[in-house]
Symmetry: C2
Subunit: 306 residues, 2 copies
Amino acid sequence: MNSFVTLRDVGLRDGLQSIPSILPTARKFEWIDAAYAAGVHQMEVGSFVPAHLMPQLADTWDVVVHAKRHEHLQTTVLVPNLKGAERAIESGANALLLPISASAEHSAANVKKTPDQMLETVAAIATARSAAGSKITIDIGISTAFGCTIQGDVPESEVVRIAKAAVAAGADEIGLADTVGYADPAQVKRLISKVQDAVGARCRTGHFHDTRGLALANTVAALDVGIRYFDASLGGIGGCPHAPGASGNVSTEDVVYLLDRMGFETGIDLSQLLALRKKVAEWLSGEQFNGSIWRAGVPKSSSVFA
Amino acid sequence: MNSFVTLRDVGLRDGLQSIPSILPTARKFEWIDAAYAAGVHQMEVGSFVPAHLMPQLADTWDVVVHAKRHEHLQTTVLVPNLKGAERAIESGANALLLPISASAEHSAANVKKTPDQMLETVAAIATARSAAGSKITIDIGISTAFGCTIQGDVPESEVVRIAKAAVAAGADEIGLADTVGYADPAQVKRLISKVQDAVGARCRTGHFHDTRGLALANTVAALDVGIRYFDASLGGIGGCPHAPGASGNVSTEDVVYLLDRMGFETGIDLSQLLALRKKVAEWLSGEQFNGSIWRAGVPKSSSVFA
């Protein structure tokens, strides 16, 4: 059993896009530098969408350029379409993340496209990558994979179908996102196993929200079926526009604590991460932060932390 | 795999003893009646300790008498010693819960006794039960079983030793309590399995605190190794005097939601439980309540909740 687990911090994109505060670019640089120093070597740093739609992420190009200074940092940017993907390729980001909603109703409401239209975009992006001679990773995040606040249940067969079609269209990696916090551990094991059966190790990423308190339980369920790559957001910021006051993204600190405690390795120093969380909470004073370990602190004299 | 899971709500004891508010006896009756109507058929309703030490629970006798009106309600009372156990036997409670701390330092600080002295108390209680012709269940809660804020690590061998000795002394049921929220899912599976090897099905109860966000993940781990009986506290009240602001007892609503969602049966109606939580939160206005599902609400049109 592989004991190394990779975490991708999505706070700079998924976190910041969900809150009204606009973090100055220099602060984002500081965040990246400190997270990297703490051992976070995968970060989603922004999104190539029109600046007027998402002013919080208007500086994504500069943020990617800064992130590239760190030799071992794998930089992901979210893109909603081919145009965004072309910018991502040009920027030198290591990976682009294209979300495809498994809920037809969520997809229509969110991007005014069907899942099949998004799958056509995957193929177009793969063609653009080849044309540019780029090696950028095409990462597909299947959102609402475990259920949808608009549609309700999402058929597991549809998630499997999208995963298979995305890989056939040129996707390198598949992630399953519990966008609205509906997943439970039994469902996580079942659905991930089905997607693994369909696309093998390309089913890479678990992206869990803590909206109903189950993000860490779902993380353990995913570990149980072999997942070793997770998204999480520093301070648990962002990710829950639909349930005001509820948690959204699981906090990176809590996932690191869980993994440390269970004997997995992450390469991340929890105390440095907690120091960064404190700093970011000061920068974003007034915004909602989530998570548990920052408040309670790590256990006394555990063998893990000794 | 047995799909029925029993929950014991400990809010009336573990919850109320940790907060300064004193809930009037009539409100406790109302709480019991509403929880029973919601399907909660196991409750820890008070503690037989000197009233001046714990004025919140001074009415325990009356509360037990009231609880006994409900035919299928199994009433547990906490007792710290033989004297308390004699009161419990006399009161007609169905079970008495004697905590034994697996951390020698916690035991000394908390009850000024060693674990071995507490084991002698188990034998004395068993003798008193026989003498009284009582059928009261002797339930041992091994506290700090997963670690201790004073001592740090607690040897698993000591937990196993206490469980075995308690059963030999006359205990009917053993629970493992993560009193300070140190447990992780890997440890939960490992330690429970060891205690099951030592005392079989008498290793009954999982009692998890959410201090570091892992109570539900630990619950799933315990389910995985066959545990089907859990403590939880309505509204997540109480249980964390050592980390101000942090969660303590896992909230009953969250555990019911988890189990419903995973396909287990509890006999508990979540919406009725949430209505009671709201009422108790009004009664105890100003006290800290915890948990997630009350805020986010249950998922839309899930097969479980349809």
